[in-house]
Symmetry: C2
Subunit: 344 residues, 2 copies
DNA sequence: ATTTTAACCGGGAACGATGCCGGTAACGAT
DNA sequence: ATCGTTACCGGCATCGTTCCCGGTTAAAAT
């Protein structure tokens, strides 16, 4: 019906020029107090809001951050909250696109958001993505990118991530200390950085405790519950089956748990289990599942802070890396030795 | 470094006018095939992408939908996936803002997105929101709004929602049929529409089975796990305590479950329990919790479809309401009568 | 040979805002 | 009386794109 009022409408009605209106609207210099009052009064009456596109067209800034995430599970949602909080504080609006773990969707999303619709990107890559040309292209146009959680090593951009190796190491060492002997790992796809680092942590822990690596106990499977279920079934069907499993995600831990129960085995006595992410639901399961906690909210905040710093600073920040520390949360599923009270 | 190429750059290099470039770029009419090829070739070489702001400034369309949601839990994330799918298909980009169940944040979000940054809104309101002026203001500017899940009755806009009364009724009737006599309900805040409708369903089922309503068994508490825990503790401390609880969300069901276990009672024999939303984790709990399933993905899709219809159609759609049907999923927590196989 | 028609292209305004630059009026100082 | 200063305001270009309108050329029709 009534289209939004523009600066011209105000100028026309007050019989002054658009420049004057523009000035009156933001700084008080070079405008008489009466004009200013008149403009402000009328603008409120007309419900005037400056057109963002006209502004962006001129100033080449949108104050919008494009955030591309692989999914919206608990951990991501928590990270997003962190991003949101910092971004909002700094006057930025956040545009979230989920790639659904799909390479194609990721490309579509970057295309849509790039070319001036957003000032830059905060990205966690899809598990499918093996080629990073779409991000390189963006970077070549000098559009700021910050990666978080799932970073892109071949892209020299500031990034925030977990010390995944440490996490894998903590989990594995814990299982060893609990007396488990044959510890399997359900790792993710081979192209996933975080998976490989967690695997490296696993290997490091074995080495530290002088346990020989058994390649049959290292499974690369897809990053979800169903595949983990199948992979665990196969593990449990082995002649010399493992007596503990470390999965690099909680979703996979749940798949493993179901397979273990399905087979009639019990945790932690027959099989020990440790997951990764520490989703809250783990404490509700029986047995409650141990998991490596990551400070997701903090990670989101750190990523957004890095981004905003990059927008303000002129100096090169591409080598800034922020590494957060994981923390193993021990619950029943891996407590072979001592019985403890259930953690709520 | 190299700022993005514009239509002017192409025109200058090829020594033709910007109009011709513009035409060559989208429709083939009025452009010779050679010119068109040359333009396309060069535009690819220069990595040309049309500036969205210039376009939006002209055409008053952004092809962006602002989606405002109260949180990013499982059910919302699923709805968002539905919205995303339809929107992407139709050439729209989705901008997600979470209000964090906060009235203030919701207002900030609408302010930021409105005034031409988005073509319209798809909204599910915060549980805190009792006043809807910020949405009315948007509507007054003729910006399209679609509400979903948590709708706003006093706003005449197209909307998609669940038959919440039916859901509440199904859950309650099921508990009655299982032989539970004193059925309590944990409802949400009194200003929440969905809560009241589920409560109405509860009342309707009681009436149908001629069970007298006991007001002490109707608890309005906040929409989360911790409050539900406390509320359940109070329920269980009653002289004539209830023998079944229906909670209007799964989060609340979990809170109730914890309180029940804490007290040393068992489900379904001592207490029956039914939740709402059917989050996947419910099937993993012991006992697995019954819940009312809602077609979240479908709801998201329906909302986006409605929105896009509204953008295309000129006719008034403000009275279009789409009501989806819930479906009770029975699991162990409410199976007092017959023992059944565990549903995975 | 002249007119019609089609094919192709360029010029300029417009979208809404900002910012530079220049102009005018009033006033005080010399 | 003239100049300089201050306070205030308007004109115009600009951002990148599209659209309307008009113009030129060459081929086709008369």
């Amino acid at each position: 019906m009534n289209k939004p009022a523009t600066i011209k409408d105000i100028a026309r009605i007050l019989k002054i020029s658009t420049s004057t209106v523009s000035r009156a609207m933001r700084n008080a210099t070079d405008v008489s107090i009466e004009t200013k009052n008149a403009v402000v009064a009328l603008s409120e009456e007309l419900n005037y809001l400056p057109n963002k596109f006209a502004l962006s067209l001129q100033q080449k800034q949108t104050h919008t951050i494009g955030v591309i995430v692989p999914n919206l599970d608990y951990i991501m949602a928590t990270m997003l909250k962190g991003i949101d909080e910092v971004a909002l504080e700094a006057g930025y609006t956040v545009m979230v696109c989920q790639s659904n773990e799909s390479f194609g969707r990721e490309i579509v999303n970057t295309k849509r958001l790039s070319n001036s619709i957003v000032d830059g990107f905060i990205v966690s890559v899809s598990s499918e993505t093996k080629v990073f040309d779409h991000f390189k292209k963006i970077q070549a146009q000098n559009v700021p990118i910050v990666t978080f959680d799932r970073v892109i090593p071949e892209l020299t951009v500031p990034s925030v991530y977990l010390d995944n190796k440490d996490g894998g190491s903590q989990a594995t060492a814990h299982l060893i200390e609990q007396g488990y002997k044959r510890i399997a790992i359900l790792a993710g796809p081979k192209n996933m950085e975080i998976s490989n680092h967690r695997l490296n942590g696993y290997l490091a822990a074995l080495k530290k405790y002088k346990i020989k690596v058994d390649l049959d106990l290292i499974i690369n499977c897809d990053f979800n519950q169903d595949y983990a279920f199948i992979a665990t079934q196969e593990l449990l069907a082995m002649k010399k089956r493992p007596d503990a499993i470390f999965t690099i995600s909680d979703r996979m831990a749940i798949g493993a748990m179901l397979a273990i129960k399905d087979k009639g085995l019990t945790m932690p006595s027959d099989i020990g289990l440790v997951g990764f992410n520490n989703e809250p639901l783990l404490s509700l399961l029986e047995p409650a599942i141990s998991s490596v906690d990551q400070p997701a909210f903090e990670m989101g905040k750190a990523a957004a802070k890095l981004f905003i710093q990059m927008m303000h600073n002129t100096e090169d920040m591409s080598n800034v890396k922020e590494v957060l520390k994981p923390k193993l949360i021990v619950r029943e599923s891996s407590q072979k030795n001592q019985k403890i009270k259930r953690i709520k």
